[in-house]
């Protein structure tokens, strides 16, 4: 992953099939559709993972921006000096990043961003983001050596199951940022990794080089531009791949269409499935209750995406 050309902020309308990190394809409110209290597709439901045994406490860092590079299309990568976060982040965890410099500001909420990569030696973390709305466009205008307020690592990340010898990650657009460290962790543990990377077109598939560099990985790209991202096309292709090399675990992020496809694949092949979801957030730490994953019932608060997620297990309806 290297820096691209002159940093300009592309003024592109949001892509309705790729709304940030997680499965929000049709613009419906967050993950409400998956909860027991809400009507939604009957193809499965989200279930909370157990809390991690050794969750590192988040810290607040004034992180210097080491670099902020345009990767291609609307995507950028910001590298931040954040030693504690670099040391402790688990796959699927995220940070809350305050874009505006100190002082009274017109923009008051930090932005949740997955930790796409970390380097313990250099004490840095990478955040890869799409410049869409005000905050992310502002991020793209930030220069090296600026300082940002960063809180993390946050959330309940992916579980790499002890039995996993082959992991398949299936992500779309910016959702791939939540899967990258999981692929690395699996590979480090000696598991084979299949990385299915979906995007609108080739230039938008900015994490291909990252996943190609993961040892023992096989990369499958799927694009809207040539029709290969259509689940009707991609699903059967992956089914063949999984029959050749069964995966014990599938992890997905970034598209509801792909989640449905993965749900069917998991059900057919017996793999377990985890998914990272998104929600609008204010605190990222569990105290504002802004990021409810779904409404559980009138007398019980459902899980919070920032604290109980963003990664949940997915139970296909057939199980």
């Amino acid at each position: 992953m290297t820096a691209g050309g002159a940093p300009t902020v592309p003024d592109l309308p949001p892509d309705p099939t790729e709304t940030g990190a997680l499965p929000l394809d049709d613009g419906q409110a967050s993950a409400t559709w998956a909860g027991s209290g809400d009507a939604g597709p009957a193809d499965g439901s989200l279930v909370m993972l157990d809390a991690p045994a050794t969750g590192a406490r988040p810290s607040l860092t004034r992180a210097a921006v080491v670099s902020n590079d345009h990767l291609g299309d609307r995507y950028w990568r910001m590298r931040l000096l954040a030693p504690d976060i670099a040391r402790h982040t688990q796959p699927g965890q995220f940070v809350m990043l305050t874009v505006t410099p100190s002082g009274p500001s017109n923009w008051v909420l930090p932005r949740p961003m997955a930790v796409a990569d970390r380097d313990e030696m250099q004490e840095t973390i990478d955040v890869v983001y799409g410049a869409h709305g005000w905050g992310t466009r502002q991020m793209a205008a930030i220069g090296a050596r600026d300082e940002l307020t960063v809180v993390g690592p946050l959330g309940n990340g992916f579980r790499l199951e002890p039995t996993t010898r082959h992991l398949m990650v299936v992500g779309r657009g910016i959702g791939l940022c939540s899967l990258s460290l999981l692929a690395v962790a699996a590979s480090q543990r000696g598991a084979a990794v299949s990385a299915v990377l979906s995007a609108r077109h080739r230039e938008a598939n900015v994490l291909v080089p990252f996943f190609e560099a993961v040892p023992d990985s096989r990369v499958v790209t799927a694009l809207d531009s040539d029709g290969s991202s259509d689940p009707q096309v991609l699903g059967p292709e992956l089914r063949i791949l999984l029959e050749e090399t069964p995966a014990q675990q599938i992890a997905t992020c970034g598209s509801r269409r792909l989640l449905r496809m993965c749900s069917a694949l998991a059900e057919a092949t017996g793999a377990t499935l985890q998914v990272a979801v998104e929600a609008h957030m204010a605190c990222g730490m569990g105290y504002c209750h802004g990021c409810s994953a779904w409404v559980q019932g009138v007398d019980q608060e459902g899980p919070l995406v920032c604290r109980d997620g963003p990664v949940f297990a997915w139970l296909p309806a057939g199980r």
Partner: protein, 350 residues
């Protein structure tokens, strides 16, 4: 009256009735949790305030529950509550462990529910209650309790009768006159008033042709509401003699001093903590310098010391009794010993 330079020379103490706070800075309900104590210093806070707690277990509203707007946040969290038993055993001890006074914010969907939770927390180590009257009353078609001064009176009188702790009443700004509810709350025994909660608003998602928030309407907070909250604090503090706690858009020590001048004895910080979790600690550190800018070396020196030329006009607007007697009597004069009356204003009074 030179600007003080050393923190130790500056008296940051303030009092809410019998409750003396080491500093006038505390979090606003729902915008703070004990989680924060692990990442930022919290020992310099005057108090901590819990998220509003209901007697029964409740869920919050449908997502989306919040969104960013220009200089603000619009939220419709609802009031998810773990119920009083879990609050007692798991939540309250974590607030207590912070080591500063704990204010428990209480709510209800019926008048009696406020009384019930007060009774249920009777034996707990609670330093004060804050009555959040911005809850819908299910017995009155979901209308906000705080919009009806009689109901505010009923709720607060009942809470007052059931506890000997200080009772703060957090007023809603979504009324024609905040003064009415303020006076009623004072008359039934409120120790102090928090002014104010969020302002009702709406955000629209034009692509979906739907409100952004799951609950359609939400409450606006953040810098966008600061002038509105300042005005309400000024009005309320002139109408009552109990202390007022300013809340709305406060994000710096200078903001805090502006609220103190307008009549607040303490301030609450909500939205600002999200982007900068250490906002409140920083405010306490910078408060001596900010007080210095206003020519003061203590909090109590500046409370209510806003110098306003047009005394009689303001009092007329507020309907303050005694304001039209031409003698500058009534609350205005009492709250503001250094009030300046301009000759033009005097002349205008019949």
């Amino acid at each position: 009256m030179g600007a003080p330079t050393l923190t130790s020379e500056v008296d940051l103490r303030t009092a809410l009735g019998p409750l003396v706070l080491a500093t006038p800075v505390m979090p606003a309900s729902g915008c703070f949790g004990p989680e924060l104590a692990t990442i930022v210093p919290v020992g310099s806070l005057g108090a901590v305030v819990t998220k509003t707690i209901f007697s029964a277990r409740r869920s919050g509203n449908r997502p989306h529950r919040l969104t960013e707007t220009a200089a603000g946040v619009l939220n419709s969290i609802g009031i998810p509550s773990p119920g009083v038993a879990t609050f007692r055993s798991e939540v309250l001890p974590r607030y207590r462990a912070i080591g500063v006074p704990v204010v428990v914010s209480i709510g209800g969907l019926r008048v009696e529910e406020y009384w019930q939770i007060t009774e249920e927390l009777h034996d707990e180590a609670v330093d004060a209650f804050e009555v959040n009257v911005s809850c819908p009353n299910l017995e009155r078609g979901g209308l906000t309790i705080g919009a009806n001064p009689d109901q505010v009176g009923e709720v607060v009188a009942g809470v007052r009768a059931r506890t000997d702790r200080p009772v703060l009443v957090k007023l809603t700004p979504n009324v024609t006159s905040v003064v009415e509810a303020a006076r009623v709350a004072e008359s039934v025994g409120a120790t102090a008033l928090t002014v104010a909660n969020t302002f009702l608003g709406l955000a629209v998602d034009l692509r979906a042709r739907r409100p952004v928030l799951g609950n359609a309407m939400g409450g606006l907070s953040g810098p966008a509401v600061k002038p509105l909250a300042l005005r309400l604090v000024w009005e309320a503090s002139r109408a009552v003699s109990v202390p007022v706690i300013g809340c709305g858009g406060i994000s710096s020590a200078t903001d805090a001093v502006e609220f103190l001048l307008a009549g607040a004895s303490a301030v609450q910080v909500g939205t600002a903590t999200f982007a900068r979790p250490d906002t409140m600690a920083e405010m306490v550190e910078e408060l001596p310098a900010a007080l210095g800018l206003a020519g003061a070396s203590s909090v109590h020196e500046v409370v209510g010391q806003l110098q306003v030329g047009n005394d009689c006009l303001a009092d007329d607007t507020l309907g303050v009794p005694g304001a039209s007697d031409g003698a500058g009597g009534g609350r205005g004069a009492r709250c503001h010993p250094t009030f300046r009356k301009l000759p033009t204003c005097e002349a205008g009074v019949p």
